[in-house]
């Protein structure tokens, strides 16, 4: 198992490298330049700036310089659009914010989603099941860019209970709406996956055996059915978790939380190559890491899986 994890991490290195090279080529190939603004700059100034940031070099050399900087000095370069700040500084500032509300939203969507899904499956075709399925469909058709304005409308404009935006170091009132807006649609998906996989498990032979043993309902669900029913949920949760903690553009923009989702979009619009690359690498690294975590959890749930 340990050898497997190490091997997977080693394989992750070339994967990340390929990600870096391809993303760099794509973003540079996109039309436009970091220094094209509303005011057109004199050609000499433009040439100076490009030389300053190494953009006058052949593109493969640029990529190599970039990768070399990361390997030797863990330097992700300066931001082009936020003057005097490095990419590392911007991520260090924005990522904790996204991580905070993303992780909270993740916990809530898992807890609520799994509970709803399990109860719906156990009480299949009862009013509870229809309610739970109804709620999940409702939540799924209300993605965060619809949820966010609705929440603000109700809780800020009508009721005046919660601030409509800002972060303030992540105080509770500022956290509530971003977390709810981000979690609803994920919660709905988790509930639906849990329900269908739980129903499948409840129809298996070994559940029949467990029922014939007269061990009682709670034991049947918690000791026999829940673990296998979680397998499809876990594989959904890996990429979902990464998506949630690396932030949602909509949430960051709408609630002005200052998370990296916002920086990512701005960077892409402004052709801020280093910042786009920095956030891409962060997301890529987390994706590789959490796919590995999912595989490890799989082996823990199902003893037949051995690496």
């Amino acid at each position: 198992m340990v050898a497997y994890i190490l091997r997977r991490l080693l394989v992750g290195i070339p994967t990340l490298l390929a990600l870096v090279v391809f993303s760099y080529l794509i973003i540079v190939a996109a039309p436009g330049s970091p220094f094209l603004g509303e005011r057109s700059l004199p050609p000499e100034v433009l040439a100076n700036m490009e030389a300053r940031y190494g953009l006058d070099q052949p593109i493969l050399r640029q990529v190599m310089n970039y990768v070399w900087g990361i390997i030797t000095e863990f330097d992700f370069g300066p931001s082009f659009s936020y003057k005097d700040r490095t990419v590392t500084e911007i991520i260090a500032q924005g990522f904790p914010i996204t991580l905070t509300y993303g992780f909270l939203a993740f916990l809530i969507s898992v807890a609520v989603g799994v509970t709803l899904g399990v109860i719906a499956a156990v009480r299949q075709n009862s009013w509870y099941d229809y309610l739970a399925v109804g709620i999940s469909i409702g939540a799924q058709v209300l993605p965060n860019f619809v949820m966010a304005p609705i929440l603000v409308l109700v809780f800020t404009l009508w009721l005046g209970w919660l601030p409509g935006g800002g972060w303030q170091g992540g105080q509770l009132p500022y956290l509530i709406m971003p977390v709810i807006a981000l979690s609803t649609s994920f919660m709905a998906s988790i509930a639906r996956i849990t329900r269908s996989s739980m129903l499948e498990v409840l129809g298996t032979d070994f559940i029949l055996t467990a029922r014939a043993k007269g061990i009682g309902f709670r034991r049947l669900i918690f000791r026999h059915a829940l673990k296998p029913a979680m397998l499809p949920v876990v594989s959904y949760l890996g990429p979902t978790f990464v998506g949630m903690i690396t932030g949602s553009v909509v949430i960051d923009m709408y609630f002005s939380t200052g998370g990296i989702g916002q920086f990512f979009v701005n960077a892409a619009i402004n052709r801020d190559y280093p910042l786009v690359m920095g956030i891409t690498i962060l997301t890529g690294f987390l994706t590789i890491a959490f796919n590995l975590v999912v595989d490890v959890i799989y082996a823990w749930i199902d003893p037949r899986i051995r690496y």
């Binding site: 055996t209 014939a212 043993k213 007269g214 009682g216 034991r219 003893p303 037949r304």
Partner: protein, 316 residues
């Protein structure tokens, strides 16, 4: 009073294609220490009869009639009420040992929980009893097997584990639903020997559900032959094999491959098992396939005739 008494049991399933009557008016008795074989083709309702007795039918099933254990009605009880019966009084083992054990849990956890729940034992106390039970069903290296996961054992081994697990609370009745169907022939014989051994040792009654008449001849005391959800004939095994009263039983026995006769062509019953969605035209369900049917057979359902220990449902 018999240990288990089934009277006029009917099981219907409501399906999108209409109501399926899987079990119709089945009455059976089971005495202590007896092996009762229920034989029949696929879809004849033999398993559903047992599932109804254990309260294990799916949600779309409706049952009526009566199932009495020790004189107490158990048909229609909910899971909570039945947990006092299941495993403690009536245990059940299933057709496919490969899928009947929970693949995600150790054999130890699956076995000890029976004693933890029903006898309030600690895991440690239960452990000793479980290992002893594994040894008594001839599992070598019981201590090692006990800690394994089901996928580390062969099919025959898993069925032994199932049997050992079912015996933990010393139930009065063991229902074995086609326990050997998924096993190869040598393992089949071992499992059947094991069932006979536990009947001797614990004085339990066993209901053996099977479609294998050879198996029935080898070990059961009494046989009930089911067809289209009804019991066509029942009686002591030897008598029933020697002189079948019902044409269906007769036809089944003729279909057996005999080692002591040189047969060039195997006997088969023409036609196929009736569709159980229609409620029955009122006549004998075997009538369309019966080699000796008369006009009277399609008129009304033949009444069950009982002579001594034998009974059959045929007008002849």
């Amino acid at each position: 009073m018999s240990r288990l008494r089934i009277r006029n049991l009917c099981v219907d399933f409501s399906t999108p294609d209409g109501t399926v009557s899987a079990v119709r008016d089945v009455s059976l008795d089971l005495e202590d220490g007896e092996i009762l074989a229920i034989v029949g083709e696929s879809g004849s309702g033999k398993s559903q009869t047992a599932f109804a007795a254990m309260g294990l039918l799916p949600a779309n099933a409706r049952c009526s009639g009566s199932v009495c254990f020790d004189g107490k009605e158990i048909l229609g009880l909910d899971d909570d009420a039945l947990s006092g019966i299941r495993a403690r009084e009536i245990a059940m083992i299933f057709q496919n040992p490969m899928t009947s054990l929970n693949p995600y849990r150790r054999i130890s956890d699956q076995m000890t929980e029976v004693l933890e729940v029903h006898q309030g034992l600690s895991k440690k106390a239960a452990r000793t009893q479980c290992i002893a039970m594994l040894e008594s069903v001839n599992i070598s290296d019981a201590r090692m097997r006990f800690e394994q996961f089901p996928h580390e054992c062969s099919g025959g081994m898993r069925q032994r584990v199932m049997i050992a697990m079912s015996l933990l609370c010393r139930p009065r009745i063991l229902i074995a639903d086609e326990p050997t169907t998924a096993l190869d022939v040598t393992i089949q014989a071992q499992v059947i020997d094991l069932l006979k051994m536990i009947r001797e040792r614990y004085g339990m009654a066993i209901i053996l559900i099977t479609h294998d008449l050879g198996l029935v001849a080898g070990c059961s005391d009494r046989v009930a032959v089911m067809y289209a959800g009804r019991v066509m004939e029942s009686g002591p095994t030897e008598e029933l094999f020697l002189s079948p009263r019902h044409p269906y039983t007769d036809a089944l026995l003729k279909s057996l491959i005999r080692m002591d006769e040189d047969t060039s062509r195997l006997y088969s019953i023409s036609g196929s098992h009736p569709d159980t969605t229609d409620a029955g035209s009122g006549g004998c369900p075997f009538n369309p396939r019966c080699p000796v049917s008369t006009i009277a057979c399609s008129a009304s359902l033949p009444a069950v005739r009982t002579v001594g220990s034998r009974s059959w449902a045929c007008i002849r």
